[in-house]
């Protein structure tokens, strides 16, 4: 097990300092790492750009958003898989990542967050010399 995968080690709605009692929806995520950084993709259908909150507090990345669904007045629910419209999930970042340079985009309800690694900490190929 690698110890550098902190970003994956914590999830769920246990974000520090978030005493929000509302029930939350945990967006499903894909997280993968390449030589330059870590990418997180989250499914948050119903969330538009202005209802998305993405913030980094020290080493915690918080992904939060409200789904807005236009529902006609007086609608009676027959069936509902989705009963909560507030998405929330947080992740712990590790030291070699650069939270100041996070980039994010949102398209059709899919949030993509790119967390780059510090340049000096990117993996280097170590040459083994014959001796």
């Amino acid at each position: 097990m690698s110890e550098k995968s902190d970003v994956t080690a914590r999830g769920a709605g246990e974000a520090k300092g978030g005493g929000d009692p509302r029930p939350v929806l945990r967006p499903p995520v894909n997280i993968f790492e390449d030589a330059h950084g870590i990418t997180l993709e989250a499914d948050m259908p119903g969330v538009s750009k202005d209802r998305l909150n993405l913030q980094v507090d020290k080493d915690t990345l918080l992904v939060e958003g409200d789904a807005q669904i236009d529902v006609p007045a007086g609608m009676e629910a027959l069936y509902a898989d989705v009963r909560v419209t507030h998405y929330r999930r947080s992740f712990t970042l590790s030291g070699e990542l650069e939270p100041d340079k996070i980039e994010a985009s949102l398209k059709d309800g899919v949030l993509t967050v790119r967390v780059p690694k510090r340049a000096e900490l990117r993996p280097r190929k170590i040459e083994v010399r014959a001796g």
């Binding site: 970003v7 999830g11 769920a12 993968f32 948050m44 009676e76 027959l78």
Partner: protein, 147 residues
């Protein structure tokens, strides 16, 4: 401390989720009959159905779709939504989590008997497909005048 040495999450919330799932399964096994077309909780994609006297509305939560890859059909009051979501598999990366649904899906919704299959509208916004089907005028509740 130990948490970060492993990739397992093991949070209380996950345990609660699991408990809820087990309860659901336990109860549906021996309680009242379920709809013949109903599916297990957690089936992708999640959907909500609501009705007003004028129409029936179906909301399908499918993020990141090309609307052209969604296939909608209605037969009398049976609405079928199918499609395929392709989450590209990156090469040369290490995956830690792959929770996003990838592949083909299909869901069937039974709408009220009085919907008009000729009057359907569908829009896709922010990853939510909204299908709206009009109900027939004759069956709408109306005020009865007392003479």
């Amino acid at each position: 401390m130990f948490g970060s040495l492993t990739n397992f999450e093991g949070s209380l919330l996950d345990d609660l989720w699991r408990m809820q799932r087990e309860m659901d399964e336990a109860f549906t096994r021996w309680s009242w009959p379920t709809g013949i077309r109903s599916v297990a909780r957690g089936t992708y994609p999640p959907l909500n159905v609501g009705v007003t006297p004028e129409k029936a509305d179906v909301y399908l939560f499918v993020a990141g779709m090309d609307p052209k890859a969604l296939d909608l059909s209605i037969q009398r009051n049976l609405l079928t939504i199918s499609g395929e979501r392709n989450v590209p598999e990156r090469e040369g990366v290490q995956y830690y989590r792959e929770e996003r649904f990838d592949g083909a899906f299909r869901r069937v919704v039974t709408l009220p008997d009085d919907v008009d299959p000729e009057k359907v509208e569908a829009t896709y916004t922010d990853g939510v497909l909204h299908v709206s089907v009009q109900r027939r005028e004759a069956t709408r509740p109306r005020q009865i005048e007392i003479k």
